[in-house]
């Protein structure tokens, strides 16, 4: 191994400071930090929106807002949470951790990486600007069709729809750029000795995610562009009067939309086993089985899209096919659950905050998955589709599965990233408040759906009052407990007990061989893996 010593002066010579540092950085850790910070801010913005929604739903009757404004909040809340909070958080971890975990000095395409991030703030502005413009009488607010953009309603909508279409374009391009970077990095820059089947699970999770993104984002881009031309350039892709079909949009959208939910989850399925392994002080169980399961889920996810619109009317063979294929996805997921639980089995476990989140995650995401299985049944779905049952289902999978997973990752890696330990007691309080408030917010919603409450309504029949009240109060508790999370992160960044290289007694992986925080260029000497 040859060594090249980089002197202190050389290290700093080419690095700008201040704003220019952040605007022009090509360093994977800096870019990862920006993604994570952006994600946290947008998480709070999306959360504030949903508190508005739940406040209106506290009682029947309209108290706070007109239905047209309510419709804007629900759609923008979803777009922000999915595209501006969850995806950037996962991308932030990818940027931070993938080079460290595979022994690379940086990502393969650093400038593409920078550009991928900087598309995000403009997209956030595009999503939220219509609210402000409406205050000045320009346009009638943000997109009010729900995040799914269904025509013909979205063809009717005001400029908010156009803003959202362009925001989605920017977000999509950013994701594709990031995915290309990840695929190239993972295939080309692993340390010698690290074969594909020795890669950390997080890398596998992201590799499959990246392929799914590259395959499906262009379809979304196509669908929303067809919507744009239907709106402004006289096409009629989605208008029957012109020979088109509104349901075609649903096919195109959900061809992206279903893989999208796995895109949101696969990175988490990558690092949760790593956390379980660390705090069980036992090797991960079934590495190969997990990898094959991730591939199976990725492959199956692209052929099940129509289960999002069973009630739109499709031929019986189609209904049956999509029902059975959707049910089939639960098989590899069952394998994953088994491996996760077996990883902990007879392990020497301690329950620091990351482990609390990981174990809670298994239970709550499991509930989400099982309720999805119910929805896969076409006969049952006729009842549950577009009811609050679905809302509860996807919050279990995306909040408990996605966001709480990300929180596990944050607590796990924050000491490595900042060099300081976070406040463990506050972390545990945050976990318990989040877990309890989350369940109290969404369990009533399952029952509301079963009782016949549709979704996306600003007002409801009086028999739904009590459960809505519980859900709203719990939602406020959930929202405010996240402030503890923010506080903990900020204090950890600023200072705290010094973190060792390894941080966690059972931690395994190349990132734990570097100092906390790692040097600016991560690995200056390439490690080898045996």
């Amino acid at each position: 191994m040859s060594t090249t010593t980089i002197t202190h002066d050389e290290e700093h010579h080419d690095h700008p400071t201040g704003i220019m540092r952040w605007l022009t950085t090509t360093n994977h850790k800096d870019i990862g930090t920006m993604y994570l910070t952006f994600s946290l801010i947008m998480f709070l913005v999306g959360g504030a929106m949903v508190l508005g929604i739940r406040a209106e739903l506290f009682q029947p009757g309209l108290q706070l807002m007109k239905p047209e404004f309510y419709n804007q909040l629900i759609g923008v809340h979803a777009l922000i949470m999915i595209f501006s909070a969850l995806m950037p958080a996962a991308t932030g971890f990818a940027n931070w951790m993938i080079p460290l975990q595979i022994g690379a000095p940086d990502m393969a395409l650093p400038r593409l990486n920078n550009w991928g991030f900087w598309l995000l703030p403009p997209s956030a502005i595009l999503l939220t600007l219509p609210f402000t413009l409406a205050l000045f009488g320009i346009g009638d607010g943000a997109i009010a069709t729900g995040w799914t953009f269904y025509p013909p309603l979205s063809v009717q909508g005001g400029i908010g729809v156009d803003f959202a279409i362009f925001a989605v374009h920017l977000l999509g391009i950013s994701s594709v750029m990031g995915s290309i970077n990840i695929i190239v990095t993972l295939f080309n820059m692993r340390a010698p000795g690290m074969t594909l089947m020795k890669m950390p699970m997080f890398a596998w999770g992201w590799l499959i995610t990246a392929f799914l993104l590259v395959a499906t984002i262009p379809v979304l881009a196509g669908a929303v562009t067809m919507l744009l031309t239907d709106r402004h350039f006289g096409t009629h892709f989605f208008s029957a009067a012109g020979g088109g079909d509104p349901i075609m949009f649903q096919h195109l959208f959900w061809f992206f939309g279903h893989p999208e939910v796995y895109i949101l989850l696969l990175p988490v399925w990558g690092f949760i086993p790593q956390i379980l392994q660390t705090f069980s002080r036992k090797p991960m169980y079934g590495y190969k089985a997990q990898v094959y399961s991730l591939w199976a889920i990725g492959a199956l996810s692209v052929v099940v899209w129509a289960h999002h619109f069973f009630t739109a009317g499709m031929p019986v063979p189609a209904l049956l096919y999509f029902m059975y294929s959707t049910m089939a996805i639960s098989l590899p997921l069952a394998v994953l659950f088994f491996c996760w639980i077996k990883t902990m089995w007879r392990g020497s476990m301690t329950f620091e905050t990351p482990m609390l989140f990981a174990v809670g995650w298994i239970i709550l995401f499991g509930i989400g998955g099982l309720t999805g299985l119910v929805l896969a049944d076409v006969a049952a779905d006729a009842q549950y589709h577009n009811s609050y049952f679905v809302v509860a289902h996807f919050h279990y999978t995306l909040f408990a599965g996605g966001i709480m997973g990300i929180m596990a990752g944050v607590y796990y890696w924050l000491p490595k990233m900042t060099g300081h330990m976070y406040n463990e007691k506050l972390g545990k309080v945050h976990f318990w408040l989040t877990a309890i408030a989350f369940n109290m917010t969404f369990i009533p919603q399952f029952f509301l759906g079963l009782a016949g409450m549709p979704r996306r309504i600003p007002d409801y029949a009086i028999q739904f009052t009590e459960f809505n009240e519980i859900s709203t109060i719990a939602a406020f508790a959930l929202g405010f407990s996240q402030l503890l999370f923010v506080y903990n992160i900020v204090m950890c960044v600023k200072g705290g007990k010094k973190a060792t290289d390894k941080v966690w007694e059972g931690a395994v992986g190349l990132e734990w061989t570097l100092s906390s925080p790692p040097p600016y260029h991560s690995f200056t000497e390439q490690p080898t893996v045996n």
């Binding site: 029947p60 009757g61 309209l62 108290q63 007109k66 239905p67 047209e68 419709n71 009638d140 009010a144 069709t145 729900g146 269904y150 025509p151 013909p152 309603l153 009717q156 005001g158 208008s239 029957a240 009067a241 079909d245 509104p246 349901i247 089985a289 619109f309 009630t311 739109a312 009317g313 019986v316 209904l319 049956l320 029902m323 059975y324 049910m327 639960s330 098989l331 069952a334 394998v335 659950f337 088994f338 299985l373 049944d377 076409v378 006969a379 006729a382 009842q383 589709h385 577009n386 009811s387 009782a451 016949g452 549709p454 996306r456 309504i457 600003p458 007002d459 409801y460 029949a461 009086i462």
Partner: protein, 311 residues
């Protein structure tokens, strides 16, 4: 993997009955006794009775089939009747808050009803939880589903596909009745519709008074009770060019973009009302809009003029 095995067993337990259920759910034609057509629009449901199903159903009496056929041609709109005051928390909410309508869909108990569904504008979804099924209403396409009510009673549901600001305000109320009740209702409803369609000559005051009711039921949701509208999406009627301009051309002929044309045919987001409102109602609401809401044009429109304008 034990979990995978458990799930596979579950697939068989869930999957086989599901297969049969799906086929039964989608079979709208076999053994259907009668057919109705449901049209979703922003923001109300419209029901049309298309009569008995053509095929002869085993065990169905000829009298029953005749009764079902007699309903053919009944067509009406079903509007929410919950008051604005209830929604604004100014009045206590009734028991069926947001789930009550003026014209219920009346169906005979025990008969399989084939439902043809479409939409006049955007996607809607017709849902009655107690029937356990729902179907999307797609503009320009006919979708099908079916229901069979087993017990007499009132069944309430809502629209289940986001369709704009009125999405939460277009309920479904279905009344399941015995065949005798159904027969009586068919006769009474046909009389009611014929009476409403009778072209009468009315005074300006009669037109304006009746027009207020029509306006508040159909137009106020967008143009507001005061006529102020919600620009730029929904123009104000107070002082508007269309509401204050001429109804007919100088030669007395039909004028495009006139007040009458706008109400009959709509424009852009504004729906056309010619299929939803009767000649009387159109004449009433136009006269009201021109002589109230801050306007005082002074003229009036007679239903007979609306009828001839339709040709």
């Amino acid at each position: 993997m034990p979990f995978a095995i458990l799930l596979s067993i579950d697939f068989i337990i869930m999957g086989i009955p599901a297969y049969k259920s799906v086929i039964m759910m989608e079979d709208t034609r076999n053994d259907s006794n009668m057919v109705i057509k449901i049209t979703g629009s922003q923001w109300r449901w419209q029901y049309e009775y298309l009569g008995a199903a053509e095929a002869n159903i085993k065990g169905e009496s000829a009298e029953d089939k005749q009764v079902l056929n007699d309903a053919k041609g009944i067509k009406f709109v079903s509007n929410l009747t919950t008051t604005q005051d209830e929604m604004d928390n100014k009045a206590p909410k009734g028991e069926h808050y947001l789930l009550e309508v003026d014209n219920k869909l009346v169906l005979p108990v025990g008969k399989k009803v084939r439902i043809l569904m479409t939409s006049a504008d955007v996607l809607h979804n017709w849902w009655v939880p107690q029937f356990g099924s729902s179907r999307v209403a797609v503009p320009g396409f006919i979708r099908e589903t079916w229901v069979q009510i087993l017990k007499p009673g009132t069944y309430r549901g809502q629209c289940k596909e986001l369709c704009g600001k009125g999405h939460g305000y277009m309920p479904v109320v279905v009344e399941g009745v015995s065949m005798q009740e159904y027969q009586k209702w068919v006769v009474a409803k046909k009389e009611e519709i014929a009476k409403a369609a009778e072209i009468k000559e009315m005074t300006k005051d009669e037109l304006v008074t009746a027009g207020k009711g029509v306006y508040e039921k159909n137009c106020a949701v967008c143009h507001q009770v005061t006529g102020a509208g919600l620009p730029p999406a929904f123009p104000a009627l107070t002082g508007s060019k269309v509401a204050n301009g001429p109804i007919f051309g100088a030669d007395g002929k039909y004028l495009k973009d006139s007040h009458l044309d706008r109400v009959l045919n709509g424009k852009g987001v504004m729906p056309s009302w010619k299929a939803v409102l009767t000649d009387n109602e159109i004449a009433e609401v136009i006269t009201y809009e021109r002589n109230a809401l801050g306007n005082s044009v002074g003229d009036l429109l007679q239903p007979a003029q609306v009828k001839s304008a339709r040709q």
